[in-house]
């Protein structure tokens, strides 16, 4: 840094020092003696005067402050940051400077370490700005929280919160699938018999409602609340928030389940024909189509941590997929019966599965190990995990909410329960709200689950209160920061690692990708000569001349090496033979 600022100050200091030593000047005298004379001058040269005054003031202030500071300030330096907060923002391990490191390396490590520490500290300091805290439902003594009914809760809480418990009686076109938008403001419901509606559920403002006159398998919001995808009987349709059909994607047929990867702008669909397809909604192209060869795919979940798609299969396995690989990344045998439902938590650490064997299993999907399992009498047909880690499971017509599922200790009883009328078809927690949406045969129910939603939202990422303009700006930014589908993999930090594959391996991959070997030598093609010299025989002869050139070279080299070695050996043996030197040795060459 070649900053110039500090030097200027030093110069003035030096000046002052010098000034003291010099003899008195006449203008100094006049300044002291006759004030009246100085007046006009002073007005003209105000700045100069002020300068002097200010310096005097500063000096006095400094002195005062210095004394006072020494006495008063009991907390010198920066405010300390709690270790817990610091740990929260720690990224990776610190690198130690090796003992015999070069100066450059030392500097590089020191700079990077200082930078990351600074970032960590700043982030920890800014943690102050997340003031909201989550609460939970607490029952009286010897009262189970799961016996508290929704109506009681709605009565107890304030009006706005109470209004979040509501039922939509839609018995005609049920059962319903549902999806909340990423900001949690909008709700999309799709009845099996073709009824699709999107609602601003907090204001109960119906944005659009229609009947697509076809079976609806699944509904999903795309990146904004302006568009949503509906998996209908044959094809995938995309509508806007007014209900206008934007696209009919005929490449995606018989879609049963959908997942939207918001940072990649990918719509992943699982079809009845066993295809897993990825649609890039930002460019409208199919990124990948993978034939899973696992039959009908009606269980699907995404891992929000690394954008890997989890699929549940009838043979009790769960497979993990990325658009970059034609075979599954991981295949786990989870249940003895078919997998009925899947859910992955926000941090990408835990996966919860339920199968036909009526078991609920919690897996650590970083290590692919089961943590614990529990037996549900009716088995869970639908699973959903909230932002704060509450698990809701639909067993028959009862929705159960479990607390502290994600961990090593097994659960014994549900945190909350709610009985509904009709088969439950869809479960989804509303982001940033303590609300669980339930789609069932008789319509839709919004259930209050205290402590479900994340109390602090990142307004730059997903702002529930954003305006129209903000949404537009966010859209542009999000598109600019779109993550390419090539980067999807089990380890999202793969990009920050050095590729340690060998040259051969990379070369092989290159050949596979290109379809030819870019480093291969061209085959010898003899020139066509004239005057009858390009006859077939002549060409063959010429080819003979350069045939196996590489091999010949190798052979030549090896022969040369061998002869040299032999020569050396011979010399050595000769020397050994003539161990005692004779006088005539000097004439030996």
């Amino acid at each position: 840094m070649a900053a110039v600022t500090p030097e200027v100050l030093t110069s003035t200091h030096v000046e002052k020092m010098k000034k003291k030593k010099l003899p008195k000047r006449y203008w100094e005298e006049t300044e002291k003696t006759d004030q009246s004379q100085r007046r006009p001058e002073e007005e003209q040269g105000k700045a100069g005067q002020n300068q002097n005054k200010s310096t005097v003031k500063e000096k006095s202030l400094k002195r005062k402050n210095g004394e006072s500071l020494e006495k008063k300030d009991p907390f010198p330096g920066e405010a300390p940051i709690p270790q817990k907060q610091l740990q929260k923002f720690q990224r990776g391990k610190k690198c130690k400077v090796p003992a015999g490191a070069r100066e450059r390396l030392k500097e590089a490590i020191a700079i990077s370490e200082a930078m990351s520490e600074h970032a960590q500290k700043q982030a920890a300091r800014y943690d102050l700005l997340l003031p909201e805290d989550a609460g939970f439902l607490e029952g009286d003594e010897d009262e189970d929280t799961n016996t508290i009914s929704q109506a009681d809760i709605a009565d107890a809480v304030d009006i706005t919160s109470g209004s979040k418990y509501f039922n939509l009686h839609l018995s005609q076109f049920g059962p319903y699938r549902l999806d909340y938008s990423r900001t949690g403001r909008n709700l999309l419901v799709g009845g099996k018999k073709g009824h699709v509606a999107c609602i601003d559920w907090q204001t109960k403002d119906l944005k659009c409602e229609m009947n697509v006159m076809e079976t609806v398998n699944d509904v999903k919001w795309l990146h904004t609340e302006a568009m949503f995808a509906v998996a209908q009987k044959r094809w995938l349709y995309i509508y806007d928030s007014k209900g206008v059909e934007l696209h009919c994607v005929k490449k995606f047929n018989d879609v049963l389940r959908m997942q939207f990867l918001p940072y990649h702008f990918l719509l992943a669909t699982a079809s009845a024909t066993g295809f897993l397809q990825y649609l890039d909604v930002s460019i409208g192209k199919e990124v990948a189509a993978i034939c899973t060869k696992m039959g009908r795919l009606d269980v699907m979940a995404q891992n929000p941590h690394n954008a890997v798609i989890h699929l549940g299969h009838p043979n009790g396995t769960v497979s993990l997929w990325s658009p970059n690989q034609k075979e599954s990344l991981v295949k786990m045998l989870c249940h003895r019966g078919a997998v009925r439902s899947l859910a992955v938590d926000k941090t990408g650490t835990y996966m919860v599965t339920s199968g036909l064997d009526r078991k609920l299993k919690v897996y650590d999907i970083r290590a692919f190990k089961p943590l614990h399992s529990c037996f549900l009498p009716a088995g869970a047909s639908c699973l959903s995990l909230s932002q704060r880690g509450l698990l809701s499971a639909a067993t028959g017509e009862i929705v159960q909410v479990y607390q502290n599922v994600l961990g090593s200790n097994p659960v014994s009883k549900p945190y909350m329960a709610h009985r509904l009328r009709g088969q439950i078809w869809g479960l989804a927690y509303c982001p940033f709200e303590d609300v669980l949406g339930i789609g069932h045969g008789e319509g839709f129910t919004s259930m209050i689950v205290p402590g479900a939603g994340e109390p602090n939202f990142d307004a730059l990422d997903t702002n529930p209160y954003r305006s129209h303009k903000q949404r537009q700006e966010w859209e542009v930014k999000a598109l600019l920061e779109k993550v390419q589908p090539e980067l999807i993999g089990l380890d999202p930090g793969q990009l920050s690692k050095v590729d340690q594959a060998s040259f051969e391996q990379r070369h092989k991959e290159q050949i596979e990708a290109l379809g030819f070997d870019p480093l291969a030598k061209d085959k010898f093609k003899p020139k066509t000569k004239k005057k009858g010299r390009s006859s077939a025989g002549a060409i063959e002869k010429r080819k003979r001349k350069v045939a196996h050139e590489d091999q010949r070279d190798e052979i030549r080299q090896s022969v040369q090496e061998r002869t040299e070695r032999e020569k050396e050996l011979k010399e050595k043996s000769n020397e050994k033979k003539l161990g005692n030197k004779s006088t005539l040795d000097r004439f030996r060459k």
């Binding site: 840094m1 070649a2 110039v4 030097e7 200027v8 030096v14 000047r25 003209q44 040269g45 100069g48 300068q51 720690q90 990224r91 610190k94 690198c95 400077v97 090796p98 490191a101 390396l105 500097e107 590089a108 490590i109 020191a110 700079i111 990077s112 970032a119 009790g316 690989q325 075979e327 991981v330 295949k331 786990m332 045998l333 003895r336 019966g337 036909l356 009526r358 078991k359 609920l360 692919f368 614990h372 399992s373 529990c374 088995g379 159960q400 659960v411 014994s412 009883k413 329960a417 920061e481 090539e486 993999g489 793969q494 050095v498 590729d499 594959a501 391996q505 990379r506 991959e509 990708a513």
Partner: protein
């Protein structure tokens, strides 16, 4: 005589035959015998020994015994001096020394370059002033004279040269002390007058003549001039031989040019046409002859005038003195305040044109000078006695102003001492900007402190976060029964209310459950099969190079013998253990994801020694999604920042190496700077109207007169 000569010649020839290549040394010494052909002394061929020379030393009594002894030793010693090194070697040594010198010279840049390379951010131009509000001293110090008004004021200030550091005599006084007497001044002025008048007369005449277009006139004129010149030249040879020599040289040059060219050789187009006409036309013949004559004249060699003749040098009356061409000092006649100037170095110059007015003025001016001088003396006396307050004031203002003027020349003065007054003035006016700039730079150099960048030490190691999820190593083998894994004891969950309604679907489910219960074993065995298949696919295949029938009987149903199998079946090294080796219910694909690999770093960047170091160095993301605004700005700040439109000059040695002497000088100059007056002038210029400022300053300056 002739015989003798002949003999000598023959002898010489013989000598030349014997030593054809040896040249006779020409000697310019006086000798008894002087040969006609070459100067020679007696006994030339003989070698001169040291003893011959030293013999005299032995005899002389003046030389000390010591030196004699030394000389004797020298005589007796047979050692020869070593041969000087040959050219290549000496050059090599010289080069080596030069290299060392230059390396020493260049190496002083090493530190600053390293520092700049290491710097996180470089801001160009390097000596940039801070963008914030400046102090008044800085503003005034970096103030350039730009507008005409400012220039005028500075000229005014320059005119009154006042003492800087309380010297005994002001420069003006010193100058006036050096001034000439009245009579001398008068003579000088008269000379000047005449010269000026002459010059103007000549100029007018030349202009007039130049306007005439007639060729004939010019021809005649030229001829006349030439004649005149020749006459003058003859005269000049007598009077001014040096000038004549120069003229001669010029002539010689023109002769050379003539000889080189084909001009006047009757070879041109015109000449050829004339040659045809020459038979019949007299005029043509004449013209040709004329041309030839011209050629002859031009090519004729000039006689070198003898240098012997030295005559008294008289100055030609027509020659114009040098000082006539000196530039006139700019004194604005319109500006009434300019007359209040304290000094008039060359008052004569201003009054060349109007002669009648001059004389009166001249007298006035001279009187002024003298009067001023007297006044000054008085003033000084008064100062010494500390008498009159008004005069004190006057002097004060003058000194302040002079100080202000002098500060601009401060650097010059401090270095080279005081110049003569006239020179100083001119220099100041001409190169004002430059000097000022230099002084500012000096200031900055003074100020600049090249601080060695403190390397940020990594702070104390933090306690590593304990991985909560790390589990004790699993020591299960493949043989573990999958059934056990899958049928782990599961806790039954107590429900608050049991399912009451049984749907058709649920009934279906129950049926399927029963189905699954029977097919449960199948699921597991399928999975195990699948996994083994995957493992097998991952294992490298054995390359079989056996050729049946070679060295034995071939045919259907015959197996190649063991030795053959052993020799020609090539096994490759087993792959690294699979990730899912210890997880019986998991199949993890071993395929490498090439899509990410194309975005990854494939080679370790320079200063890092292993991948762990590099990976830890990039572990902190720099995006605004993960960081606070300040951190993002800090992390993504550009390496080089340039100011738009600013000239980035190469680094100068003075920027980082400060010599103590200049620093000290600048300090003194800075401290003496009368800030107050500076501020006054500066702000006046900034705020007030031009006329007012000029008049005000004029008042300030007029006080002493």
């Amino acid at each position: 005589m002739q015989n003798e000569n002949l003999v000598q010649i023959s002898f010489f020839n013989q000598l030349m035959l014997v030593h054809p290549r040896k040249k006779q040394n020409e000697r310019s010494e006086a000798s008894v015998q002087v040969s006609e052909y070459f100067v020679n002394a007696e006994g030339t061929g003989d070698k001169v020994n040291l003893s011959d020379l030293l013999g005299t030393v032995e005899k002389t009594s003046g030389a000390s015994n010591k030196t004699k002894k030394q000389l004797r030793n020298l005589q007796s010693s047979k050692e020869t001096l070593e041969l000087p090194l040959n050219k290549q070697q000496t050059e090599k040594i010289q080069r080596g020394i030069a290299y060392e010198k230059t390396t020493a010279e260049v190496s002083c840049w090493k530190n600053i370059i390293l520092q700049n390379q290491k710097a996180e951010q470089m801001v160009f131009p390097l000596n940039q002033e801070s963008s914030g509000p400046k102090r008044v001293e800085q503003v005034v110090a970096g103030w350039k004279v730009q507008t005409p008004l400012e220039q005028e004021i500075f000229r005014l200030l320059h005119g009154s040269r006042q003492p800087v550091n309380d010297p005994v005599l002001t420069p003006v006084e010193e100058q006036s002390l050096k001034a000439m007497s009245l009579e001398e001044a008068k003579i000088r002025r008269a000379e000047l007058q005449k010269a000026r008048a002459l010059q103007s007369y000549y100029e007018a005449k030349a202009k007039r003549e130049k306007k005439i277009k007639s060729k004939k006139y010019h021809k005649v004129q030229n001829k006349a001039k030439r004649k005149d010149f020749l006459k003058q030249f003859d005269e000049m040879v007598k009077t001014n031989p040096e000038g004549a020599l120069e003229e001669l040289k010029k002539m010689e040059l023109s002769r050379m040019e003539e000889r080189m060219s084909l001009k006047h050789q009757n070879s041109g187009k015109w000449a050829k046409s004339k040659a045809i006409m020459a038979k019949y036309d007299d005029s043509a013949r004449k013209a040709m002859q004329e041309q030839l004559q011209m050629n002859k004249d031009l090519t004729q060699k000039m006689v070198v005038p003898s240098d012997d003749e030295h005559e008294s040098i008289e100055e030609g009356l027509e020659t114009v003195p040098d000082f006539v061409n000196d530039p006139e000092t700019v004194i604005d006649p319109v500006n009434p305040w300019m007359r209040g100037q304290l000094t008039h170095e060359e008052p004569e110059i201003s009054c060349v044109t109007a002669e009648e007015v001059q004389t009166a003025e001249e007298e006035n001016e001279e009187e002024e000078i003298i009067g001023e001088f007297e006044r000054k003396r008085k003033l000084r006396q008064a100062d010494e006695e500390d008498l009159i307050p008004t005069e004190e004031e006057r002097k004060k203002i003058r000194t302040i102003l002079s100080l202000f003027v002098s500060t601009r020349e401060g650097s010059n003065q401090t270095r080279g001492g005081l110049n003569t007054a006239g020179e100083e003035d001119e220099e100041g006016l001409l190169s004002e900007g430059q000097i000022r700039v230099r002084s500012i730079e000096d200031l900055e150099v003074l100020d600049e402190v090249v601080e060695p960048r403190a390397i940020e030490e990594p702070s104390a190691p933090q306690t590593a976060a304990a991985e909560a999820t790390s589990e004790p190593p699993h020591k299960k083998k493949r043989e573990i029964n999958l059934k056990e894994v899958l049928t782990k004891e599961a806790k039954a969950v107590r429900l608050p209310f049991l399912p009451t309604v049984v749907d058709e679907e649920e009934r279906d489910e129950q049926i399927s459950i029963i189905k699954e219960a029977f097919a449960g074993d199948d699921v597991i065995s399928d999975f195990i099969k699948d996994k083994s298949r995957q493992e097998a696919a991952g294992r490298p295949a054995v390359v079989d190079l056996t050729l049946p029938g070679w060295g034995e009987w071939g045919g259907v149903g015959l197996k190649p013998p063991r030795w053959k199998r052993k020799r020609f079946r090539i096994k490759t090294a087993p792959p690294p253990p699979r990730q899912d080796q210890k997880l019986p219910d998991v199949i993890i694909s071993e395929k490498r994801t090439a899509s990410v690999a194309s975005h990854q770093v494939s080679q370790l960047p320079f200063p890092f020694q292993n991948t762990a170091q590099f990976e830890s160095s990039i572990r902190t993301p720099i995006g605004s999604t993960w960081n606070t605004q300040t951190v993002v700005k800090n992390m993504t700040k550009p390496k080089v920042v340039t100011k738009l439109g600013a000239i980035i000059e190469p680094m100068v040695k003075e920027d980082f190496i400060k010599s103590k002497t200049t620093a000290a000088g600048d300090l003194v100059f800075l401290s003496n700077y009368p800030k107050k007056i500076n501020f006054i002038i500066f702000f006046l210029l900034q705020t007030l109207s031009s006329i007012f400022v000029v008049s005000l300053l004029g008042c300030l300056l007029n006080v002493p007169t």
